[in-house]
Symmetry: C2
Subunit: 177 residues, 2 copies
DNA sequence: TAGTATTTCTACTGATTTAGTAGGAATACT
DNA sequence: AGTATTCCTACTAAATCAGTAGAAATACTA
């Protein structure tokens, strides 16, 4: 009846789905721009303002915003009155789009897309698991837009998930045997 | 109308949810043991047999199996007729359990559990997204057992996901603007 | 036209994680 | 005693993550 230690002893840093700092910062920056969005003539917001308001490292944020511009999510202007604004409505930008731009595909198995991996023997059906994982991530992340997060009004499949009784309880990482 | 490049130019290795080699190998190894499972007196299977059968690097697999033993999923025996067997029924081992042992929590944001992060200003509701992501991962990975994968008979919420018309089509990673 | 403030680009860094490998010690059966 | 296997410790090379530094390009303003 020993207390089996089933996880890394201390802070347990590594993880299945790791939301990176880059994605976290990037989405927060777009949310700030989304809150100011008011059609194509929206005022420009400086990266400095976003960085201090959201406590994001300034130079890192600049790099992220430049990636966002390459992806077409934001429009920028240089110079004394420069800054950034959203290129289109916050209703039209889904979280999955942002995450794919900043971090690549939503799900992969050993670096490969789920439909690219194949297994043999007793593991034959394992690919189905990764496909199901990807679909379930898509259902959440493709359905939620920047506007949904600003307003707090989520698509009902998502609010269904949040109503789950233990949505905000974390599971133990050790196993007793 | 330029073709905006929204992702890393070439092989796009980084990813949101990365199923690591360790988890992939570990689950496959347990599936092999699960297929042989026949109560507490199941025959022992050598790591060499699993490694060649599933094309997993031998020494890496050994390390993974030892972690599995620490977690209580397998029982081992050394010596000439040694090997591994499952410690309990494949019906009682969920994929989420295995993944937490090998890779830590299912989801984290910048290294923190989703319920530990908090945001301010326009990003206030962002934590809900990560909670929803975690719940949706749990719904898939806590409901599927080793036995489900062996038999190909999945809980109906999972088979619902797999029936999604584009379960096995991958989404483009670049954005046209 | 000169000045100023901002974005943009290129390059670099240190820490951590990933995916292993090497070699030997412990152990269980014959 | 011999043999085959698991178990443990240590090590490595490559990639990724989370930034930083500094200068060039650019847009407005006076």
């Amino acid at each position: 009846m020993s207390l089996g230690f089933a996880c890394k002893p201390r802070h347990c840093l590594n993880v299945g789905m790791q939301i990176s700092a880059k994605v976290d910062y990037g989405i927060r920056a777009l949310l700030v721009l989304a809150a100011a969005y008011d059609g194509p003539e929206t005022r420009l917001i400086k990266s400095e303002e976003i960085a201090t308001g959201q406590e994001i490292p300034f130079k890192f944020l600049e790099a992220i915003l430049t990636e966002m511009r390459h992806a077409g999510f934001v429009i920028s202007q240089r110079g004394a009155v420069g800054g950034y604004r959203l290129s289109r409505s916050p209703k039209s930008i889904a979280l999955a789009d942002i995450m794919r731009v900043l971090d690549g595909p939503l799900a992969a198995v050993r670096g490969l897309r789920p439909e690219m991996v194949s297994y043999k023997g007793s593991a034959e059906n394992l690919a189905d698991v990764w496909l199901a994982v990807r679909v379930s991530l898509r259902k959440v992340l493709e359905s939620m837009t920047l506007d949904d997060i600003l307003t707090g009004k989520y698509p009902k499949e998502v609010s269904g998930l949040l109503n789950d009784p233990d949505a905000n309880v974390s599971r133990p990482m050790f196993v007793t045997e």
